[in-house]
Amino acid sequence: MKPAEIARPLGVFVIVIAVVLAGSAVLGAVAGGGGGGPTDGQNVQGQSPEQFQPESVNPDVDPETGDISVDADDGTKEVLIDTQHGNAFDRSDIEPVVEALAEAGHTVDFVPSGTSDRGFGSSTSYNATLQEYDALLVINPTEGFTEAERAGLQTYTDNDGRVVVLGEPTQTGVSGGGLIASVSTVSFGANDLTTQYGARMGAEALFNLDDSANDNGFKSIYAAPESTSSLSEGVDTVTFENAGYVARTGDSDATVLYTAADGTKTLETRRNGTYATVVRNDNVVFVSDSDFVDQDEVYDADNEVFVSNLLDFLTSGDKPDDVPETATDDGFGDGNGFGGGGDEDTPTPPATSTPADS
């Protein structure tokens, strides 16, 4: 075979291959990045970012430890828990508090013993009720106290009857569901009573966004004792959920016992300030939150110690049995011991107004 006979077919072979491959190359270049490229899954950066690590993310949780303990050093007492003023709380929620009182030998009533159809229409009947008890615990009243009731309570506290009022700021809640939800606005109802002791519920709820100043939620603020007192003994921090603040009246004798943590602001108007959450005026203590006695929260932070102190306060009074006076002996400023008048029966409307369209 001549060299040319090999060279020619070989040349054709090379040319055909060259043409096909050149065509592929051109096609590949024209088609662009439709395929190929580096495989996904390489050079992964930043997929476990520092702000996602457990130490940056996991919240601190307050331990729910401790016990509520009440002493009976001053003898066993009778405590009335108010249910006559639209008190918005569940009895089941405050079972730990009732249990602690009972364990110390104190007696707790929700409905006054001997209550009959007399009701509370007159100061006489209310005074008769108060006579039977050494202490009154008022939780989240949404209705007012009548003038006669307030007069009776003034005498009561003037004579070492103990009263603790736990309030809530005006709150809006949505209930129901389905097609029609119900929006309700609930305000503190007993400002007329607490004003008698130089304090009233503040106009707004409080919040604090600083994680070190709240208990996992901006509306669960921390508060700390402002001064040393029997009610602050053993307490570093308490936590109040959806709390308000206590506004003292101009000539108030009330002492501030607890203030909200630094940086706490009002929820609506964002005003920064030092907000009182617990005040005491002699035999009356007023707290601008009522949830901290609930089973869910009573063991948070040092709440159980504060509650113990509060129960000790309630059960350490020394009220004479015949106070306040009843029936014809009643001689208060209103000059009407028998009450029952229309004005006195009408609960006083709360001072705050709500722009509710109805």
Binding site: L21, S24, Q45, G46, E50, Q51, P59, L179
Partner: protein, 321 residues
């Protein structure tokens, strides 16, 4: 003569065989050459890819945009990404996915965001790693916070739990406390992300960011939630300037269309969709989830209120005056 014609036909056969063999060999080699030329990328015009996310950061929407981002990363001719976004957020988990996809892309190439309408809550979570955020005055950003659907779901769940037998006290039980702890955990990762990526720009503290306010474009440029007032074109130009592989104006712009074809299917699967800025919660209770159980509490990084909340409501107060 006969010998000559015999020789010619033999030569023809030889050439046919040679050509066939050559084609076969070339066919084998062609893919190698093809991928070598396509893989080089240098022969292409460098491009800025414009990706679009319109709608909630639902699982389906985020999966689609994550795939777009992955393609952009793997295409050597794409030197930068512009994310055009109009999203009020959505589920927390899918919003985190959005963030991780954006974060990974931003680690490889410039990513510039143009906020067409909303980049609120989960929408802002995702765009936080952007090299620059462009807004117009009506754009809405911020809402750095998490919400949980609590009310009736939790109550009915806990009631349900009482009618079942369980192996442990925490099994299938969620309390308000536990939901709040989870909310704070999710919020920490959200705020931490915003502070990590925007902390140097923000005039607001971490606590102020946690207020979860929304800001219009002009406010956002002042407080550092966004960088510039501008248009989509401004964002594209910014991205091209930042890109290493682009010099001057010689670059292409590749618009990746949002997945409109499958929109109806995706919306049907959404937890949250955006309609004129309001959030519509789509009830998934009748969907086949593969189980008879549904999560009692859902966590959203979303701007808006549940649709049920804007329906008929009755207003009650204890005011007596």
């Amino acid at each position: 003569m006969a010998a000559s014609s015999e020789s010619t036909s033999a030569t023809t056969v030889l050439y046919v065989v040679v050509v066939v063999v050559a084609v076969l060999v070339a066919t084998v080699l062609a893919p190698v050459v093809y991928s070598a030329t396509t893989g080089s990328g240098d022969s292409e015009d460098p491009s800025v890819a414009v990706l679009t996310l319109r709608g909630g950061t639902s699982g389906a929407n985020v999966a689609a945009i994550s795939e777009d981002l992955r393609q952009a990363r793997n295409n050597d001719s794409i030197e930068a990404v512009v994310m055009r976004v109009d999203s009020p957020g959505g589920g927390v988990t899918s919003s985190e996915e959005f963030y991780l996809a954006m974060n990974r892309t931003a680690a490889e190439m410039p990513v510039v965001t143009y906020v067409e309408g909303y980049a609120a809550s989960g929408g802002y979570f995702g765009i936080a790693p952007s090299d620059a955020i462009y807004v117009k005055p009506s754009s809405l950003v911020g809402s750095v916070g998490v919400v949980a659907t609590l009310p009736s779901a939790l109550e009915s769940q806990n009631a349900q739990v009482r009618s079942t037998l369980r192996t442990g006290p925490d099994k299938q039980l969620q309390t308000v406390d536990s939901v709040r702890e989870e909310l704070e955990l999710l919020q920490n990762s959200f705020v931490g992300t915003v502070m990590k990526h925007r902390g140097d720009n923000l005039t607001l503290s971490r606590t102020e960011v946690s207020n979860a306010a929304t800001y219009r474009g002009t406010e956002a440029v002042q407080n550092g939630f966004a960088d510039e007032i501008g248009t989509l074109e401004s964002a594209i130009q910014h991205a091209a300037t930042e890109a290493d592989g682009i010099e001057g104006d010689s670059y292409g712009v590749y618009y990746k269309e949002p997945p409109s074809v499958t929109a109806s299917i995706i919306l049907a699967r959404n937890d949250v969709e955006s309609t004129n800025g309001s959030i519509v919660y789509v009830d998934q209770s009748e969907e086949d989830t593969g189980t008879d159980f549904v999560p009692p509490v859902r966590y959203y990084a979303v701007y808006g209120i549940p649709e049920s909340a804007v329906e008929n409501q009755e207003v009650v107060t204890n005011e007596t005056g």
